[in-house]
């Protein structure tokens, strides 16, 4: 007993010593601008985080290697929250303490949990590709920036794409919507329902209960009882891979399936049996796909100069490019803010205005030509559709947004409700 107690006390003292000796980084030291980056490399969505976060850092490193933003170095401070809310709250407060002027939030529950804080502390936070679609309204949520197509815009774009695929008329057609049964999964339904009334197609929704690995019955129903003319899929995590396998199994052609952005990565296709098996699958993207963009070449160059191989994460281009997109938009917002401030130290409020000035910043086609305004924090809701063809993703459409009047109506209603 005595020995173990002594050992225990020694451990405690040692830990206390280590913690005490942590150099407390001074907040926003001279010539450095801090971005708070929340990540999930270990939790439920690690498939995304393990690629997206390294990409974020790579882009920041690239910017710093080119002299930073208007003379300032940028520092992305990463904290992993395991997709749990309390660590996310802690991460946010830590970032605030370190003087972060923008926050790259990650996770739908996290952006909800931090919405009030962001507004109170006047620090802009981004929620690209997730979170509440209503947050696109910049007057209602001044400090939240979806900066990528929300689920409402994705739903509208999907219907538009299906319409073109089915010959320009949806009257009397049958469209199935298969979704992950959680709030984020159900969010686009209201917009798609509105479009069903407008375009006159028959819509049937099929819920897949979490964790999204059981959908045999739903898929069979879509393929053989409902006999859908087209399927729109909105699934997360492991579910998109399962859906590819299940549709394959019942013999439904994947060329009549379009997936929302979280079922659109290389990792999802590989989980579904590989590119050969998923031939024809349509995937929606909010960042460009593939390794052929100038900014990616610059990152490879940067690694080469240091005498290193480019990171293996770059092979997973969908998530990697999204990481680059998020980082680039943060840097761009900071750049706008620094320019406006003319040398002074920028605050969260300045960065917010910086975000609202982003326009036509495309990074050679990797980023859609967004136009963020104080009213529209989504930036237009632009997406591209890519198809699995011959072992890789092939671009089918250019950046487009559809039914913006319908989406705008829903955003307005949501803002009025609260």
């Amino acid at each position: 007993m005595r020995k173990s107690l002594t050992a225990l006390i020694a451990i405690v003292v040692a830990i206390a010593g280590i913690v005490g000796s942590v150099p407390s980084a001074s907040a926003q030291s001279k010539g450095e601008i801090v971005i708070g980056l929340q990540c999930d490399r270990t939790g439920a969505t690690q498939i995304v985080g393990t690629v997206l976060c390294p990409a974020f850092h790579d882009y920041i490193a690239l910017i710093n290697s080119k002299g930073g933003v208007e003379g300032y170095k940028v520092k992305a401070l990463e904290i992993d929250h395991e997709y749990k809310v309390p660590p996310g709250v802690e991460a946010y407060e830590r970032h605030k303490k370190e003087g972060a002027v923008t926050m790259a939030i990650y996770g739908t529950p996290h952006i909800y949990a931090l919405a009030a804080k962001l507004t109170e502390d006047r620090i802009p936070g981004t929620s690209p590709g997730f979170g509440s679609a209503a947050a696109a309204d910049g007057t209602r949520y001044p400090y939240i920036f979806p900066i990528a197509a929300t689920y409402w815009s994705q739903g509208a774009a999907a219907v538009d794409f299906v319409k073109k695929q089915l010959g320009g008329n949806l009257k009397g057609k049958k469209i199935a919507f298969i979704f992950y049964d959680n709030p984020a999964g159900r969010e686009p339904i209201e917009v798609i329902e509105a479009l069903a009334a407008k375009e006159g197609f028959q819509l049937k929704t099929f819920a897949v209960p979490p964790p999204g690995v059981e959908m045999g019955a739903q898929v069979l129903d879509i393929a053989q009882r409902f006999r859908a003319d087209y399927v729109i899929g909105h699934l997360f995590g492991g579910a998109p891979g399962v859906s590819i396998k299940e549709f394959k199994r019942v013999g439904y052609p994947l060329s009549k399936f379009v997936s929302f952005v979280w079922g659109a990565a290389e990792a999802n296709i590989e989980a579904g049996g590989g590119f050969a098996a998923a031939e024809g699958y349509h995937a929606m993207q909010f960042a460009g796909v593939g390794g052929d963009y100038p900014v990616l070449n610059e990152i490879r160059e940067m690694y080469k100069k240091e005498g290193k191989q480019p990171p293996k994460e770059m092979a997973s281009t969908v998530f990697y490019n999204r990481g680059v997109l998020i980082a680039a938009l943060h840097v761009e917002a900071i750049r706008n803010a620094v320019k406006d401030k003319k040398g002074g130290k920028i605050t969260g409020e300045d960065a917010k205005k910086g975000f609202e000035k982003i326009s036509n910043f495309t990074l050679g086609g990797l980023v859609p030509p967004l136009k963020v305004t104080p009213q529209d924090h989504e930036g237009g809701g632009l997406v591209q559709i890519w198809q699995v063809k011959g072992g890789k993703f092939v671009k089918e459409t250019d950046w487009f947004a559809a039914y913006q009047d319908v989406v705008a109506k829903h955003i307005k209603e949501a803002a009025a409700k609260k």
Binding site: M1, V19, E82, E93, P109, Y112, A113, D181, P183, K418
Partner: protein, 339 residues
């Protein structure tokens, strides 16, 4: 009988009161207070679960769901009726107590692992209901924003305000639990835990007390949910999923079943350990690895270390941190002689 018969115990409590009410909130940066706030929320929840699992011996995996019942009750009251937070807090607690008592009904017939599975069903049913019934969840997003709590004209919004707000309820919960356990009800709970047939023979109404244990425990859970909602400014169903129930069970098992101090230790340990590990690794790991490796390593190693430390502490003292603390205390009490 006084809670603290010895003067030294009273002085210690007074010293702690000064530390927590004055020194910590006035000296530390807001960031540390935000961490403390997360701890306070966990303490109240863990105390509630310990009443049920530790004192009454009824295993429950539905604690997270009971928290969500409280949270959504309060959020709905706040947005629909614009009622003040003390009303919402009590109403949220009572609603959770009611639902908890209903979920606890199987405990009259089944025990142990079987009861755990029955409460698991309760968790899933409540989750599903909140997720799908828009009357409760306030829309497909299943999240309801609530305004910050106010005291008269003063709005509590900063972490420091929240610190005092939450600490008040922590003290209330601690004193409440300690007193409850010294009362007739508490003794009945413990008698049921130790041997329910014997308890019934000496005249304890098992039906009543088992359900009461569920109700009291769920009241704490509901209140935790309400406080969490006010802390974040939103009730969101994804914050109360099954993982949360497991986390709270972990807290009381690590801290020590059937003890107030153990609940506190457990809540502090589970909340702070990952943060402490991250700070420690940020300080040392940069010496050994490159920046990119460190970023990948920290989260992974933190999870591993967290798990390993839990195992170490449980092997060192299966009765939890509370027992460990008592051993240390006894050791120093007779120091330098062997204990």
């Amino acid at each position: 009988m006084a809670l603290y018969p010895l003067p030294i115990a009273r002085y210690t409590v007074a010293a702690f009161a000064v530390l927590f009410f004055l020194v910590i909130p006035l000296m530390l940066h807001e960031y540390f207070l935000s961490v403390a706030n997360l701890v306070w929320i966990a303490v109240i929840g863990a105390l509630g679960l310990n009443i049920l699992v530790g004192y009454t011996g009824q295993v429950s995996i539905g604690h997270g769901a009971f928290m969500s019942v409280g949270a959504y009750t309060a959020a709905n009251l706040a947005t629909r009726l614009d009622s003040p937070w003390p009303v919402n807090l009590v109403a949220g607690g009572l609603m959770a107590a009611l639902i908890g008592a209903i979920v606890g009904i199987p405990s009259l017939r089944i025990k142990g692992l079987y009861l755990a599975i029955a409460t698991l069903a309760g968790q899933l049913i409540i989750e599903w209901t909140i997720n799908h019934v828009t009357f409760i969840s306030g829309g497909v997003q299943a999240s309801i924003e609530v305004a910050r709590p106010r005291l008269g004209p003063y709005v509590l919004s900063s972490q420091r305000d929240m610190y005092y707000f939450l600490l008040f309820f922590v003290v209330l919960a601690i004193v409440g639990t300690m007193n409850l356990m010294r009362s007739r009800i508490g003794r009945a709970f413990i008698a049921i835990r130790d041997q329910d047939i014997a308890a019934e023979i000496i005249g304890i109404n098992i039906f009543r007390y088992k359900l009461l244990a569920f109700a009291v425990s769920s009241f704490y859970a509901g209140a935790t949910g309400v406080l969490y909602t006010y802390f974040l400014g939103i009730a969101n169903y994804e914050q109360f999923q099954i993982g949360v129930s497991i986390d709270y069970l972990a807290m009381i098992i690590i801290g020590g079943l059937g003890s107030v101090l153990g609940s506190i230790f457990g809540a502090v340990f589970v909340t702070l350990l990952p943060i402490v590990i991250r700070y420690a690794m940020e300080a040392v790991s940069g010496v050994f690895f490159s920046q990119a490796t460190v970023l990948n390593l920290i989260p992974a190693l933190r999870l591993t270390l967290f798990g390993a430390l839990i195992i170490v502490f449980l092997i060192l003292e299966p009765e939890g941190l509370n027992r460990l603390w008592r051993n240390i205390r006894s050791y120093f009490r007779v120091w330098p002689f062997a204990y």
